[in-house]
Symmetry: C2
């Protein structure tokens, strides 16, 4: 028996979302579409320049866990907040979604991580993340019985930014595989891939990671190529299964010589792409852990991603389970 | 010269917004559509029962100030937060909107006020407000030169809940009138009217308040009648000018024997009525302080209200100035 379908592990972050125009990004040296890491001083400075904002719990893997739970599947999450108001908000939101979340905060400093997310008129989000309490995540935060009882353990490539999270991940992967489970990761961000390319490839080639999620840019960055077919071929050689998202073109699933193309769902207007990749992963993994065909896994992923980009904020505001049923996918 | 078009004064609150069904309200003793005052203990209990939420700066008069600024007019605000993260969020958002806001927090306790707002499928919002730092607002927070230089000073009836805010209001009204300015209030909530009916009537009849904003229920509650025409006639006797909002039926402006009916704007779907009355007041007062006809004031109010109910959250997410221009009203 599995107690959980999907365990996700990531930087526990509260998002601070606001709109801006492209010029604002340029003037302030924010790389568009990327996750820009910032320190406390730059966080203060950027916040002073930011327009009126909305706050919502985020964090890539946190969004994925929330998506899994919204589909009615069983989710767990490891991630570190501080004992402060944003930490309470993060903890509340993920638990209120039905996700098992017990990572203990241990003090007020550093404070709970926050990401200032600037959304341009095209719907693209550019993130500026102050990691705060996330830098303390380590192997002591692993709940071994949760890993052992989760069908898939999924983590963010972003976890290579804080110093000791990777130790937690290696420990989780060991426990998962010892218990016959699978391990999955998202490459997170093409710049993140640039920072940790060799380590990510090693995770895949050593069999530490079985299933890889990426978008087109991340896949190209991983293999330092402009040839997308080559990147897909390399992914298929380096891991058992990969799902590569292609924005409005949907996604492609890669398994050995198989390439399964999934269409994006029809979307009236892309309001905010925050959480799109995270929610794709949630839908895919919900299908995967329920034994669906890879095509249906991909469709569930595209459904969840298509829903989250139609509102402001990184997590679903409607029941993905209902949406999945209406689409005939669950 | 006036430095400000509108000064607003109110409880400085961060909203915590989530959806629920009507049964949840009944089961938890929340009066639908009302502002339910709660203590810290009930706040903890309700938060534990609340689903995943979004946070956004709110507070009735704070929303009005944000609306005034979004219209491109000059706004100021008095309201009390604490030195904590929610206080920072509130202060940031209102200043980032361009509102003059300098009320100094003085410590961490009581913490910044928050209102848990449950939005039912019909779009109606039911608020549960823990007043926190708002209980400390008093005459020492009045900035006399701001009052003197504001064309209209506007405050919430809700300010009769904390103990000393009414002293601040009486001081502001005195300064405003000494400087030839006008004073306006919103009746806030029909239950609030029930708590302070005699004092509100006295504010109007003593000439402390010149312009009154209300919705239909509040107007009926003020005069303890079911006869709406009688309520309007009483309003016209008790104040110089009143604007009464009527939800999907728009609003009616009352001045002496005049009754000016304003139609609501067409709205595809009411997502969340939070802030509707506050934004009506912002549009009306922007028109009023710019010397527009009462009809155009009402149209600007209905425009702003119609915009804010189409998204989740209490403040405009688009430029009201642009919307007003597109509608040919400014």
């Amino acid at each position: 028996m599995s107690k959980f379908d999907v365990l996700t592990i990531g930087n526990a972050i509260v998002d601070i979302l606001s709109r801006c125009d492209d010029r604002f990004l340029e003037e302030n040296g924010i790389i568009k579409g990327a996750m820009n890491l910032i320190d406390a001083e730059r966080a203060e400075k950027l916040y002073a320049l930011m327009g009126p904002a909305h706050e919502a719990s985020g964090g890539s893997a946190g969004n994925t866990a929330a998506g899994v739970a919204s589909f009615g599947a069983k989710a767990a999450y490891f991630g570190k907040v501080a004992e402060d108001e944003l930490g309470k908000i993060f903890s509340h939101d993920i638990r209120a979604q039905g996700v098992h979340y017990q990572t203990a905060p241990d003090g007020k400093f550093p404070p709970t991580a926050r990401s200032m997310i600037f959304v341009t008129p095209d719907g693209e989000r550019s993130m500026n993340t102050f990691l705060g309490a996330c830098v303390d995540l380590g192997p002591e935060h692993v709940e071994p019985e949760v890993v052992a009882q989760s069908k898939v353990t999924y983590f963010e490539g972003y976890l290579w930014d804080p110093p000791r999270a990777k130790e937690a991940i290696r420990e989780c992967a060991r426990i998962a595989h010892e218990n016959g489970r699978e391990v999955s990761m998202t490459l997170s961000d093409s710049f993140c891939v640039g920072r940790y390319r060799d380590e990510f490839l090693d995770l895949m080639r050593s069999g530490t990671v079985d299933i890889v999620f990426a978008n087109r840019d991340e896949a190209l960055s991983l293999y330092e190529t402009e040839d997308f077919d080559l990147a897909l071929a390399s992914l298929s050689a380096d891991c058992k299964l990969a799902a590569v998202t292609l924005s409005e073109e949907g996604a492609v699933i890669v398994k050995g010589d198989e390439r399964i193309k999934i269409e994006a769902i029809a979307v009236d207007r892309v309001l905010d792409t925050t959480g799109a990749g995270d929610l794709f992963a949630s839908g895919f993994l919900v299908g995967y852990t329920a034994g669906k065909s890879l095509e249906d896994c991909g469709k569930l992923g595209c459904l969840a991603a298509g829903i989250v980009i139609q509102h402001f904020g990184p997590r679903p505001m409607v029941s993905l389970e209902e949406a999945g049923r209406e689409a005939g996918l669950i």
